[in-house]
Symmetry: D3
Subunit: 190 residues, 6 copies
């Protein structure tokens, strides 16, 4: 599983959740995590959460992670949501190590009751996709949701620390998936 951090400030408009986006846009082939910092404004036609239809989903500056898995064929959304939860829990755990104590409800992370993140998981027949976005600043987010950004959670965070955070999250997730794969090869089944 490859990890690639994009340097550019890419708009997350919803299209990166489509299968093969990493390959089509960045020639990253196979299972991967791509991460970058950029704004979000999901185009209505790219919405895949039927509960969000009609809502604004946007933020001026977020850390974005796009994950694609090809290891399970056919891909299924149930396994994908399990992995999304693992990812979100890893994020929460690493934030906690940074002194940012959050709460989690499903795939949403909150700091002092304010929403810090958005996430979705989906799949096609051949790959599983996860998006996780976390506000860097509380700017440009919808008016009807109490939101917060990482920089408001902890004042002394700077961009260098945020870059390290992005790397640590990505690498921890990859290590987790690898360790699951390895545990299978040591366990008797009935």
């Amino acid at each position: 599983m490859k990890y690639k951090k994009l340097e550019e400030s890419l708009l997350y408009d919803g299209s990166p959740i489509e299968p093969f986006w990493a390959f089509k846009e960045f020639k990253v082939k196979g299972s991967s995590i791509l991460a970058w910092i950029g704004p979000m404004e999901i185009k209505p036609e790219e919405l895949i959460d039927y509960e969000d239809v009609g809502l604004e989903i946007k933020s001026n500056k977020m850390i974005h992670f796009i994950i694609e898995h090809f290891d399970i064929q056919p891909a299924d959304i149930k396994t994908c949501y399990h992995r999304q939860r693992l990812f979100v829990m890893i994020v929460k755990d690493i934030l906690s190590e940074l002194g940012i104590k959050t709460t989690r409800s499903g795939d949403d992370i909150y700091f002092e009751g304010r929403k810090l993140s958005v996430s979705i998981a989906t799949c096609s027949n051949s790959s599983m996709k996860i998006h996780f976005g976390m506000n860097v600043k509380d700017e440009g987010t919808p008016d009807d949701v109490e939101t917060i950004g990482l920089l408001e959670c902890r004042k002394d965070l700077d961009y260098k620390k945020i870059q390290l955070l992005v790397d640590k999250i990505s690498e921890s997730y990859i290590k987790e998936i690898d360790s699951i794969e390895e545990d299978i090869t040591k366990t008797k089944v009935f």
Copy 2:
């Protein structure tokens, strides 16, 4: 998914990891978590971790959780290890809320470098099984492993708090699995 806390102090000898144990021993039918406090000493013939062959796996007093899932047919060990990781991360998270800061490596939880827990996941064709055991006291554990018990992690823990902890872990896990199931029903796939 049912949650049942056993009152008796049952020895964990490895046999509870077998499929249908909850039904055969306690008439608990369907997907379930059973939890209890009791010793552990795994009989060699019940060992299912091929890396543990020849090792002693024991402790005088542990919280035990035995989980069985029937919702995926055929059952597979890969999904089961994903769920095991979710469970272990939920435990770590709830311990953290109690002020017990631990580290995790795969399915093992450590406190100040000392091993607090053991875990395994397995399956038959029709059900997935998870065992998670956490030392209450650091007694009766193998000599060649640095271990610790919950009561050593935080001095003011008492049995009432431990009972609440057991309930909270179980209920959080059930809620997590339910919420994954629900997210599937709102998400467009490709």
Copy 3:
């Protein structure tokens, strides 16, 4: 699994067979049966039976059932056709209890050689869908097929009885699926 009977006389134009229709149109989330009485006229672009291409599929008044299942991931059309057959056999059985003796061929029900029903099953990666429609009256059906409606099968049927029939079919199907799920949890596998 939820059962919802729609009061309105909705046209079945083929679109209800699409995944997530129940949620998008009626906010019914998760596995469900929706039933209603209304006309049918399938738009050519909504046809999913390749053998029906070019045919008229229509009727002035039918009982419609739309079923969606999310319990198996990924969804597959083979399991879905098994469930469709269970549904059709339940319908035939309940009609028989009402004194309406029919014959069945695959997913079609006939009364005295005249076609009483239409049905199709399909799936996306994340849900299985079934449509079953049964003529209430023999009106507005294609000229080249011998058809019949429930009211012609048994003269003393009235709308109240038909409503009870709709409920009984839906509830029997839900009960059947539940009982299968339960049988899994009591049976040894090899």
Copy 4:
């Protein structure tokens, strides 16, 4: 799928539910239905229904059907129970054509409140198995269950008619499974 009727009066002791029984005992290879008339007395060690542990399951004369399917890999018990229900509903339907009106609850068939049949489904990783047994006479059945045999349901049944019944049930089931297989090949998926 092959259908073979055994001439001998074989005791059903539970062992025929094991995978590959048809091949090992009768060289019938591949998916098959074997049917015969004979007694039943299940050996405790052959019991696979955990709810039946400790119960007597026996009858002096039954029609037995043993079905094995290899078409789905890996085999799973959920699909197998769907097929078992199809089989039981086909039996009920054909009995009804013979003028024997029964009721069904899950996989059990009753005549006037008395139990006419027993059934179980199971699987290994590579095949699905179904047993269905129907009393010919109400003799040798457990004392604590109200049972009945086909010959008590309809007085004018003779062995020739019963043989025809066995053939019709088997052939209808095979035809049903074939027709499901065929419907898959004509239906658009999403």
Copy 5:
């Protein structure tokens, strides 16, 4: 599995790789191989190999094979690529019997370093599809690839021999898939 050889000289424009093409165009229902001799020029919108985007894929005269499998539900691309490899290896083997010694790299066959064939595999949720095309003559192929045609590999090949080759390849593949299916029914699993 059916084998049908088309007499007409059909252009392969990429559309035959779509699910249900054989049924929609030629009323061939179920698992099948269709074969014909004709040109190839893939329309950009029909390209399914993301690595080929922007490339010309064409040839004036090729033997085309289009395979569709419905036996595994849900269909998956991993199994499909396994079958594609079996197909390509069968082709190589039969060419070798004709005295045409080729080399193979994945799904490409070369003769003296020149590319003889193209191939792709894909699936929908309900069927697996394979295309394999082999140049008859080295005409009309892309300028930037060294290609060759069968008639250049062995001078004394004529159309009658090529027709026999097409038949032999198709029949060998069908026999192979059947023999796999049969081996399942004789083997103990753990």
Copy 6:
């Protein structure tokens, strides 16, 4: 996927086909090919081919390959037999490059009508296993089968060449499986 050549002359008694044999005997963890040269005499209780029951399966000197795959969960025998065929076809192809022209029927390889090899595939819920054995000399094989060994196929083969052959087969198979895995990540699905 790991490749390990064993130096010792191990008897193939059937037990290496059991899941986790490579790990339990040689600490080779994960998907692997183990190869060695040694005799074969399958113990009746280790026979997993129901068609071979009662037959002698033996040879004084064979090249043995034992393959285990953990990449597909749950494992299934159908995919495993596809891989076995790929393996056998790779062997045939590499023998052909050595000037040894053989014929193949299913998983058996023949030279001038004499049997050169034996093979079986099986699985547990968590791994797929393949055994392929090829006679080095035609000694100690069953009396009732016409057999041959590699050294009889081509007189100038020596042990060094046979060692290279073993390596080439193993490496080609691993490369093939890898290339399939990679092709999945470049192909659009429907």
